[in-house]
């Protein structure tokens, strides 16, 4: 069967979109997923293991299933026959374990027959053609969703050549004097990891991290917060997106207490610069902006897509306006779709883009 839809990117973003299309009634033969690893959690798994992540930052809704309910809390409650995950969830205190999260990915992968649609190929160019999109010689489809993920790890340029440097998301052990650069979730996790490993830790940061439970304020996950975000003039919208991208990690004693204890013991301090550490862990996240992604950069250039600083300007439904309509759809999911949905790099954000994509595919008379 010739695929009618394509998902470019076989990570979690692509996986969420695939599960959504399957839920919407598309058969595996109607969807082609292009990627380099058939395990949708492959890249994520490596990063989570690198920072020794045990719990997700996301809550019960942070899953890949197409419907919000049942979430991970309800599933864990049913599996373990206990109400505690549900009680924690209604109090916004439920954080699924990484193990629980990966279990559901494996389960869903089998159930939605992901492997039947997976095609091992690296797509480096997407080109709009009459009635659809040509995917680097592999297929021509009417509807394509680009779920490309982050365009690589970010390292401060002045430290790129430093032999002591390792990125937090790369496998590593801990030295005796560790400087952790950054102030987001990965940095906060690394402070604790290094302290647990007996290291002396210096937090190097340019600004104090924001403390919030999720990546962005909660109203921004739904239409309520999105309405005011989208109504903002472009410069303000850019400013807001920058604010949302600033490092943050959740509030709570479980984060603060180990640091306070270590500070009293003289093993944790905050400094403006790296100084005398035998290991430098860059918890500096990912490169930001479409220009770091060759496929997106080329797409913008070849089709003259509208951009605003590092963001591609998208419609509210995460589609590329210049290349959508008239029976074809090009949509972005994951971090490149932040212009439409600030929390686009979360699982909920990926689902947001996927649901809109599914609606457009379903509405298309020829699919």
């Amino acid at each position: 069967m010739t695929p009618r839809c394509a998902i470019v990117g076989a990570g979690l973003g692509g996986f969420v979109a695939y599960a959504m299309l399957r839920h919407g009634g598309l058969e595996p033969g109607e969807i082609a997923v292009f990627g380099e690893d058939p395990d949708p959690a492959a890249a994520w798994r490596v990063r989570a293991a690198a920072i020794r992540q045990r719990r997700m930052r996301s809550e019960s809704d942070g899953h890949c299933f197409p419907t919000t309910f049942p979430g991970l809390a309800a599933r864990e409650a049913a599996r373990r026959r206990t109400l505690s995950p549900l009680v924690l969830s209604v109090c916004d205190r439920y954080r699924p374990s990484v193990e629980e999260f990966l279990r559901h990915v494996d389960e869903l992968r089998d159930r939605c027959r992901w492997d039947e649609s997976f095609r091992e190929a690296r797509i480096e160019r997407v080109r709009g053609v009459t009635g659809g999109f040509e995917l680097d010689g592999h297929a021509v489809v009417r509807h394509a969703l680009l779920a490309l993920g982050h365009p690589g790890l970010a390292l401060p340029t002045e430290l790129e050549a430093d032999a002591r440097v390792v990125h937090a998301y790369e496998p590593h052990e801990y030295g005796s004097k560790v400087a952790v650069i950054g102030a987001g979730m990965a940095a906060a996790t690394e402070w604790r990891n290094a302290l647990d490993a007996g290291a002396e830790v210096v937090s190097v940061r340019r600004r104090e991290p924001a403390r919030r439970p999720l990546n962005v304020p909660r109203p921004l996950f739904s239409k309520r917060g999105l309405a005011s975000f989208r109504a903002a003039p472009r410069p303000r919208r850019v400013e807001l997106l920058r604010d949302f991208s600033a490092p943050s990690y959740p509030p709570g004693r479980e984060w603060d207490a180990p640091l306070e204890r270590a500070a009293r013991e003289g093993r944790f301090s905050v400094r403006p610069a790296v100084n005398g550490a035998d290991q430098i862990i860059c918890a500096t996240g990912f490169r930001r902006g479409f220009r770091h992604d060759p496929l997106l950069s080329r797409l913008v250039e070849e089709h003259g897509l509208e951009t605003e600083e590092r963001w591609i300007v998208l419609a509210d439904d995460c589609t590329v306006p210049e290349l959508s309509g008239g029976g074809r759809t090009l949509a972005l999911a994951g971090v490149p779709s932040q212009w439409a949905y600030p929390a686009a790099d979360t699982l909920v954000g990926m689902k947001y883009a996927s649901r809109r994509f599914l609606q457009l595919v379903q509405r298309c008379p020829t699919r």
Binding site: F69, V90, C91, D92, R218, S222, K223, R224, R355, L358
Partner: protein, 389 residues
């Protein structure tokens, strides 16, 4: 969840559909309006809070907030029900509210997100279905309320001052007295579905006389100066609440008398203050419940359930009665529990059945006693007996 205003209202209406249908069914089966009135109060309170309070104060609503918000809504619904005198029985009404609340939670967290993929993204909005609901709901509500209003008996308001009686109420109506409204010469009720509220009745042979009438409510009435009974009901079913009756010290005068109504729905007398008279509260051949009343200074008996009546006598206070405090007689069956009887005095007639007993079971009557406070003992005569749990 972060609801939009539209999302809140549409979700509320969607969750109200089933309770509303149940209320319609109940109203049809029971032949009463209270289920619909209760549902309307509940839905109205919810919608009003959504529009005026919740949307402004809760840009994000955590799951646990449903509980305190539910209690707030319950409190306001109860207040509304009291304010508008919705005759909803408390326990079923609470179950109805609790069931509706639970259904709303299940729908918000599970049902609606399953039915509509973008439910949470859209802040609770339901798309075309929601818009249809929003259009139909006000029309339906207006229709129901209109029918309910049209079906209500007329209300007559008595202004402050003295109104010459006797007043005869021979059709369904509500007679509401303004503060200071007095009827001189008594009221006679001869129709079903009559409510008399906040009226003082002075003089006449009988203060309020109820004859062959059902679904009568006497609420906050005050009777004084009648030459015989304060309230006398025959072949009627009624509720008397929060009344005050001063009876004369003449033979045969009764504070409240409910008689000859064995085949009718039970009558209830509660939270009344009855003073003087031969008998304070009495039933003959009737199903009755006497609760939380205070009866003082009677010359024959404080409370009497007689002549094959079936009665519950609970949480009453009987003081300074001559002869008998609580009397169960003539093959009546009485459940007498948690009453306080004190100061009962011996009748000078020398009749041993009137020797100042706290409770008497007489002539084949069966009285179940439970946890009564008596300063004089209970006694049984002529095949009367007591049962204790």
């Amino acid at each position: 969840m972060s609801y939009t205003l539209r999302g809140r209202l549409e979700s509320r209406l969607a969750a109200a559909l089933l309770p509303f249908a149940v209320a319609c069914g109940l109203a049809a089966v029971l032949g009463e309006w209270w289920p619909l009135q209760l549902a309307a109060a509940m839905i109205g309170v919810g919608l009003a809070l959504d529009a005026t309070l919740y949307h402004r104060l809760l840009p994000y609503q955590p799951g646990w907030a449903a509980l305190p918000l539910g209690l707030l809504e319950l409190g306001l619904t109860v207040a509304l029900v009291w304010r508008f005198d919705v005759g909803a029985p408390l326990e079923p009404a609470l179950w109805f509210f609790a069931g509706s609340w639970l259904l709303a939670q299940v729908l918000a967290h599970a049902g609606l997100p399953l039915l509509r993929l973008t439910y949470t993204d859209d802040g609770g909005e339901l798309g075309r279905g929601g818009r249809a609901l929003s259009a139909v709901a006000p029309a339906t509500l207006l229709l129901i309320l209109g029918v309910a209003w049209a079906g209500q008996p007329p209300t007559v308001r008595l202004g402050a001052g003295v109104h010459e009686g006797p007043l005869v109420l021979d059709r369904a109506q509500r007679l509401f007295g303004e503060p200071g409204a007095i009827v001189r010469g008594g009221i006679r009720i001869e129709a079903d579905d009559v409510t008399v509220r906040n009226v003082t009745v002075f003089g006449g042979e009988i203060g309020i006389e109820v004859r062959d009438s059902e679904n009568v409510l006497l609420d906050r009435v005050r009777i004084a100066g009648a030459s015989m009974d304060g309230i006398s009901a025959r072949r009627s079913s009624l509720t008397i609440r929060d009344c005050k009756v001063d009876s004369p010290s003449v033979a045969g005068a009764q504070g409240i008398d409910i008689s000859f109504a064995m085949t009718l729905a039970p009558s209830l007398v509660e939270r009344c203050d009855v003073r003087g008279g031969a008998e304070g509260i009495v039933s003959h051949l009737a199903n009755v419940a006497f609760r939380e009343n205070r009866v003082t200074g009677t010359a024959l008996r404080g409370i009497a359930v007689t002549e094959m009546s079936m009665g519950e006598v609970e949480h009453n206070v009987v003081e300074d009665a001559v002869g008998v405090g609580i009397f169960c007689s003539d093959y009546s069956h009485c459940a007498i529990s948690e009453n306080s009887v004190s100061g009962t005095r011996v009748d000078p007639s020398g009749n041993p059945t009137r020797a100042g007993h706290g409770i008497v079971s007489y002539f084949g009557a069966v009285a179940e006693l439970d946890d009564n406070q008596l300063d004089r003992e209970a006694a049984a005569f002529i095949n009367g007996r007591f049962e204790r749990p």
